[in-house]
Amino acid sequence: MNSIQRKIWTLTAVVLFIMAGIWFALTSYNQKTQSQYNEILQRYLRMNEVTGASQQTVTALNNYLLSPTDDNLNLLERSKEKLRTARVDVLDLRNSGNEFALTNYMNLIDSLLETTDRSLLFQSEKESEDSAKAFSEANRISKYISEMTLTLLDTELRTYDRFYRSIIEQSAELKRLGIWLLLLITFLLLNFAYAFSLSITKPVQKLTQSARELSRGRFDLEIEVKSNDEISFLAKTFDRMRINVNNLISEIQQKAQLENELQQSKLLLQESQLRSLQSQINPHFLFNTLDMLSKKAYLEGSEETSDLLANVAGLLRYNLKRLDRPVTLYEEVKVLGQYIEIQENRFAERLRFRTDIDESCLYVQLPGLTLQPIIENAVIHAVEPREDGGTIRFAVADDGDRVEIGIEDDGPGMDEEKIRSILEEHPVKSEGHSTGIGFANVVRRLRLFYGLEDVIFIESGPGGGTKVRLKIPKAGRIAKDDQASDRG
């Protein structure tokens, strides 16, 4: 972390480092040059000092000769001392270029000192003429020294000519170096700053883009930011948020769908009930009447009629009772038997009903009144219209984790379009006289009950009979449906 801060610090440090480097180089260079200048100046000053000291000596000598006081003598001694010091200093200036001249120079100084002493000696011995002569010689030597100084300076200039020129050249070069350095640093810093700003703004841009996508409602795009700073952290957090929001939304959608399905199933149930109620006015009165008729028929010795009436009553009761809750396959098969018995009475030889039931599978649960409408459908289409009647096969078989229920007739069959319209749950206008619950209603209820689409299959072709297969999960209905049905 702290990456952006570190980046800024790095940039600052680099700039600072470069600046310090340049400052250091320039300062050391300056110092070096200055010390060299000083050395050169020192040389000139020393030579000049000799001239000054020699002239001073001659002046002091002159003053002393004119008025030989102690003060003047002291002055003379002092200037002589100074001249001696200057001479020693000059010794350091020796180099291969001026060796000869410098030796001469120092000897001239010696000569001057000697002549001065000689002049003093003559003065003390009162030989003023000799003294004056020595003085004039000293004066001449002093003049020679001045000239020699000029010559030496001249030589110096010639010797150091290359040196001076190189100094000038180097200062020009330094200027050029400054320009190059400026260009280089400017270029480097520009690039560096560009890369640096890009490394900050690019992730931010990406993040902005992602945020825009999110605001448009696209939650499925992954937010990916390749950087190693806080932005990347932000992006990761953002991405997690996106995933969470996405999950929540899909959950809400699922719930809404569920709610919708529940509503539908409720409506269907109501419709079924309404139908059955419409068709059966005052059912209890009807049951009782039918029961009573059954007993009466039995008492009158018409057992067959009695059984028939009992079946009709049972069937009606079942219809009214079981419609809104799950029943076992066993109950369903039982009711189916009653229904078939009634129909056999009606169609006699024309209806041939064959069953093949695996008793071990009868415990499975299924919505009430699912098989009867299908059989009824088969009777209406495959038996009723045909003079020689038809055969209906009913089979229950174990099929792994499901129980397969097959209802097969040998009627004229249906075309593709009809099958599709049934499976797509379009209400079909019922032909003839069913108990009231249509095929489509059954399909819908089965699917809702199990929460599966693949519970019902219809195989048919024109003239080839119709086979309806139900594949009922042994595990029964899923939990949510349970809940839903409880509420309904």
Binding site: D92, R94, N95, F100, T103, N104, N107, R176, L177, L181
Partner: protein, 325 residues
């Protein structure tokens, strides 16, 4: 595209970096070493060669010979002097040399009182040996250790003999000399006179002139006016020869005259080549320089003590126009 940009930036970076480094290298390179104080031991002897005629071909050769010899023997020598026979400067240089306590002075002799005073009194006072070169000053007057150079007397004789052999034993001869009357000139004249006096039919006329060109031309004109039928001219001083030939040439053709001179100078060499001079005494200046240094060092180191007071003579020879061409 991105790769291209990176490549371009890289190249620019490299170029800038290269130039910066090169420039920095130049700016901070410290090869300006000052000529350091040489720790080497000083040359054994410090000699000075002093002349009044710096940069003349003759003295260039003298100093060349001297410097070479000094280098060979590990002595240091400097050539000082004045230009165009400036005596004041010349004498000052001698005085400086004495005051600077050089080990030995090799000097072009000057036959004046100041010169003699300097060498006789001051140099002797400081104990500095003096050797005269090319031009001599008598030993007694200058206290020089020795003289190195041509024998001016025999040079005079040589030229006179040549003159007689060219001109024949009869004729009129004009001698032109420098009005400074230096010692070496006197020697030359002595030599000439000694030969020509043996021929009674040869009329000799001597004229003096200052060295300046205009005056030399005027003097030549005077002599030509005074002695229009002169047969021969002898320039006792080489520096007069040029002006003399020029003036003669203005009057008539130069060739019929027999004209002779001593020494080669700026003017005499070409004149000889052109055939305007009939003969020229050539000296050996290089040997003079060399020998004088050798003798000085030998004397200083005590190898040859004492030096021959009459001098060490170097070769002279007669260069004739016929040979030169």
């Amino acid at each position: 595209m991105r790769k291209l940009a990176i490549l371009a930036i890289g190249i620019v970076c490299t170029v800038l970096f290269y130039f910066t480094i090169v420039s920095a290298n130049k700016a901070f390179r410290s090869d300006w070493q000052l000529p350091r104080a040489t720790g080497q031991e000083q040359a054994k002897y410090r000699l000075v060669l002093i002349t009044r005629e710096l940069e003349t071909p003759f003295w260039v050769q003298v100093s060349g010979g001297a410097e070479e010899e000094a280098r060979k023997r590990g002595a240091s020598i400097e050539v000082w002097g004045s230009y165009g026979k400036n005596q004041e400067d010349f004498l000052k240089k001698i005085e400086i040399a004495i005051d600077a306590k050089v080990d030995g002075i090799i000097v072009q002799g000057l036959d004046t009182a100041e010169f003699k005073n300097l060498t006789k009194l001051k140099a002797a006072f400081y104990g500095i040996p003096v050797i005269t070169v090319a031009n001599d000053v008598p030993m007694a007057d200058s206290l020089r250790r020795t003289y190195v150079g041509s024998d001016q007397y025999s040079a005079g004789r040589m030229i006179a003999e040549q003159l007689v052999s060219d001109m024949g034993p009869a004729g009129k001869v004009i001698l032109m000399g420098d009005s400074l009357r230096e010692y070496y000139q006197q020697q030359r004249l002595n030599g000439i006179y000694d030969v020509l006096n043996g021929y009674p039919d040869i009329l000799v006329k001597y004229a003096e002139t200052p060295e300046a060109k205009e005056q030399a031309i005027a003097a030549t004109r005077d002599q030509l006016n005074g002695l229009p039928d002169a047969n021969a001219f002898v320039a006792v001083n080489a520096n007069i020869a040029g002006a003399m030939v020029q003036e003669i040439g203005r009057r008539s053709r130069v060739e019929p005259y027999h004209i002779y001179s001593f020494d080669d100078s700026h003017e005499t060499g070409p004149l000889l080549l052109q055939g305007k001079l009939d003969g020229l005494i050539e000296q050996d200046p290089q040997e003079m320089g060399r020998l004088s240094v050798e003798l000085m060092i030998k004397w200083l180191s005590g190898e040859t003590v004492p030096l021959r007071t009459e001098g060490y003579l170097t070769d002279i020879r007669m260069a004739k126009a016929a040979n030169a061409r």
